[in-house]
């Protein structure tokens, strides 16, 4: 019967082509527009590392200004970072911050260029599941020994070595030579959850080096630095000893026991520091897992959330429209419905027939909606490209296709319920008489 009903749906479409096309258009526009926003929200606010997002924690220590009651600092001071590193209490851990450097290629044909890099620890790569094209991250020994090693992004390797395996080669930046130990494969998590403080939709860094080198070589730091207290004294050491926060600290903890234990450790540490005159506010240290941290940092832009509300309402308008049009269409079929009842159709089969008819219109709307969504996303890409946001992730993937078509069909059937109920419940005898 399903295919029979499907054929009836197609025939019915042809009977009122204008009305039916209006419905398909309304659904396509409503669903298409909603899917554009859905795709944005789904990716921008989605879980970037679902299999372990509940095991990765951003460490938050409240070293803020005791005379103000603002939020705890988003990053850590150098003093606290060093203390946590030395305690080494987590399963995996990394301090991380950004730097900028001029790369001076050996090949005289390539002019020196400015690049952004990230200082990190050996654990950074396994913690965040960073994929490698060649080689690997460095060893923990390299961290301790401050070895001048570097991991290149795929793009940097392309630029410097034409995409060849460059492991073992050396490159020159920040006035020194670094040995390449690894080259990343394509890695652009959206949002850039491991550093949402410096732009959650920024591009990834071009170089990765042992974090200690940033301090040791006094490299030029990039990214946010916030100080609530003036630096005492002059020089780099004074900066390191200050209450300025500029380092992010992530730990990987395997279960909730480990999480509780680590938080206790942090609080004990903070209490010790209180004795030294630091951590003057009430204890307010936290471990945020990836998703909690993104919510805490309001990674999903207001614009996306506002658009989500408006797009949902736009979809509602389209569906109301569809209800009205379906009502018109189905009530226009009263004579046919009456005749079918006389010929032996029970209400259930009529209901199913018309649900399939609504679903058929929904399917067409959904397919056209995919095209609307595709062009909508291309448009948004162009618009956001002007804002220098990463936009490659915005595309119609299988999730979007499935959700679009399914949503379109379900929505249309739901919109059709009342019209179908009305049409199937009219007294058949009335409509069998001459109109």
């Amino acid at each position: 019967m399903f295919f029979y009903y499907l054929r009836l749906s197609a025939l019915s479409y042809k009977r009122n082509p204008v009305l039916s096309t209006l419905m398909v258009l309304a659904i396509a526009i409503g669903i298409g527009a909603y899917m554009v926003v859905f795709t944005m929200q789904h990716t921008m606010g989605g879980d970037p590392i679902p299999h372990k997002s509940d095991q990765l924690f951003h460490v938050s220590l409240d070293t803020g200004d005791p005379e103000r009651d603002d939020d705890p600092p988003e990053q850590l001071t150098y003093i606290d970072t060093m203390a946590l590193l030395e305690a080494n209490r987590a399963y995996r851990q990394t301090a991380t911050s950004k730097f900028s450097a001029i790369i001076e290629p050996e090949n005289p044909e390539i002019r020196p260029f400015a690049s952004l890099g990230r200082g990190a620890f050996a654990d950074f790569f396994p913690m965040f599941d960073v994929p490698f094209l060649y080689g690997s991250g460095w060893s923990p020994d390299a961290d301790q020994n401050r070895e001048q090693v570097v991991v290149l992004s795929q793009e940097t390797n392309e630029r410097l070595f034409g995409g060849n395996n460059s492991v073992g080669e050396t490159i020159r930046f920040d006035g020194a030579l670094f040995q390449v130990v690894g080259v990343l494969a394509e890695w652009t998590p959206i949002p850039k959850y491991y550093d949402v403080n410096n732009g959650p939709f920024d591009e990834g860094e071009e170089l990765y080096i042992p974090w200690y080198l940033i301090v040791e070589r006094e490299m030029s730091r990039s990214g946010n630095t916030n100080c609530w207290k003036s630096i005492e004294g002059t020089g780099f050491q004074a900066f390191l000893n200050s209450e300025c926060v500029w380092i992010q600290y992530w730990v990987e903890l395997e279960d909730s026991d480990a999480e509780a234990e680590y938080l206790t450790f942090l609080n004990n540490y903070a209490n010790e520091q209180k004795a030294l005159g630091r951590f003057q506010r009430e204890l307010n240290n936290n471990l945020y897992d990836v998703n909690e941290w993104m919510i805490e940092q309001e990674v999903l832009p207001d614009e996306t959330r506002i658009l989500n509300i408006l797009a949902a309402m736009l979809l509602a308008v389209c569906l109301l429209n569809t209800i009205g049009l379906l009502l018109a269409k189905f009530l226009g079929k009263s004579a046919e419905i009456g005749a079918r009842q006389a010929l032996g159709a029970h209400k259930g089969s009529l209901f199913i027939q018309h649900m399939i008819e609504a679903g058929f219109i929904g399917l067409l709307g959904g397919l056209l909606g995919l095209i609307v969504a595709y062009f909508g996303l291309e448009g948004v890409k162009i618009l956001l490209g002007n804002a220098r946001m990463q936009t490659e992730w915005m595309h119609v993937d299988t999730t979007v296709v499935t959700v679009t078509v399914a949503l379109a069909i379900v929505c249309t059937i739901v919109a059709g319920l009342y019209p179908i109920w009305r049409a199937c419940n009219v007294n058949p005898s009335i409509h069998l008489k001459t109109q």
């Binding site: 006389a342 032996g344 001459t434």
Partner: protein, 234 residues
């Protein structure tokens, strides 16, 4: 086969109560050709709708082929309609976007038959009304008389116990109407019971048995004779 005892139908709106049928009793036996006549609003159509299980009634009993239909739900009523009753309407009520084959196919679909079983039945039914060659045509491509023949084929295809015809010739010119009536007579001669509502006194007189309804009740023969012309004028 069809047995109504004291069937009444009352329509209620917020303010008004109207009785469409009052203590209506009728028995139709197998093979009969019964015509129902009466003025507009007398309850002919209500009778037909109740007989065809398209409407429920307020009181009384109705046995269809020995089954008391008052307690049946929509599903069983639909099944009875499908298997025991063939409908023919004044305005044909063919599905405009289905071709003749598919139109005749409709009741068989609801019977859940396999395609291989349906096909010969449909072809036979169309053959019997003389339209086998136009199977792929749409109703709109046919004349009124031809459309009514398709409707008759559709009503017959499931071999029902009886046909309910509501003014089957009302939308046809007199020549065509004659052809349709001949066809119905032929069908009746082959054994199918027919109950037909009509305005046409002539047709009614030709039939085996004529029931005249007046104000929701069966009137006696005399009254029928006396009142019929007045009804025509109205």
């Amino acid at each position: 086969m069809l047995q109504m005892n004291n069937v009444s139908k009352v329509f209620r709106t917020d303010t008004v109560q109207t009785s469409a049928l009052k203590d209506f009793s009728l028995t139709v036996d197998e093979g009969e050709f019964v015509t129902i006549t009466g003025p507009s609003g007398c309850g002919k159509t209500t009778f037909l709708n109740i007989a065809g299980l398209l409407e429920t009634y307020t009181s009384g009993t109705y046995l269809l082929d020995g089954v008391d239909v008052s307690q049946l739900g929509d599903f069983q009523r639909a099944r009875l309609r499908n298997e025991k009753i063939g409908f023919i309407f004044q305005s044909f009520n063919l599905m405009p976007d289905l071709n003749l084959f598919d139109n005749v196919d409709v009741p068989l679909r609801y019977r859940g038959m396999k395609a291989s079983e349906r096909k010969p039945l449909i072809e036979n039914a169309l053959e019997s009304v003389g339209l086998a060659s136009r199977m792929k045509h749409l109703p709109a491509q046919l004349s009124g008389g031809q459309q009514q023949r398709v409707a008759i084929a559709r009503a017959l295809v499931g071999s029902p116990l009886f046909l309910l015809a509501d003014e089957p010739t009302g939308n046809l010119d007199s020549n065509t109407a004659l052809g349709v009536m001949e066809l119905l007579q032929e069908i009746n001669d082959k054994g199918t019971t027919i109950i037909m509502v009509t305005h046409d006194q002539l047709l009614a007189k030709q039939s085996q048995r004529n029931i005249h309804i007046l104000d929701g009740r069966i009137s006696t023969g005399d009254q029928a004779e006396a009142l019929a012309p007045a009804a025509e004028v109205a």
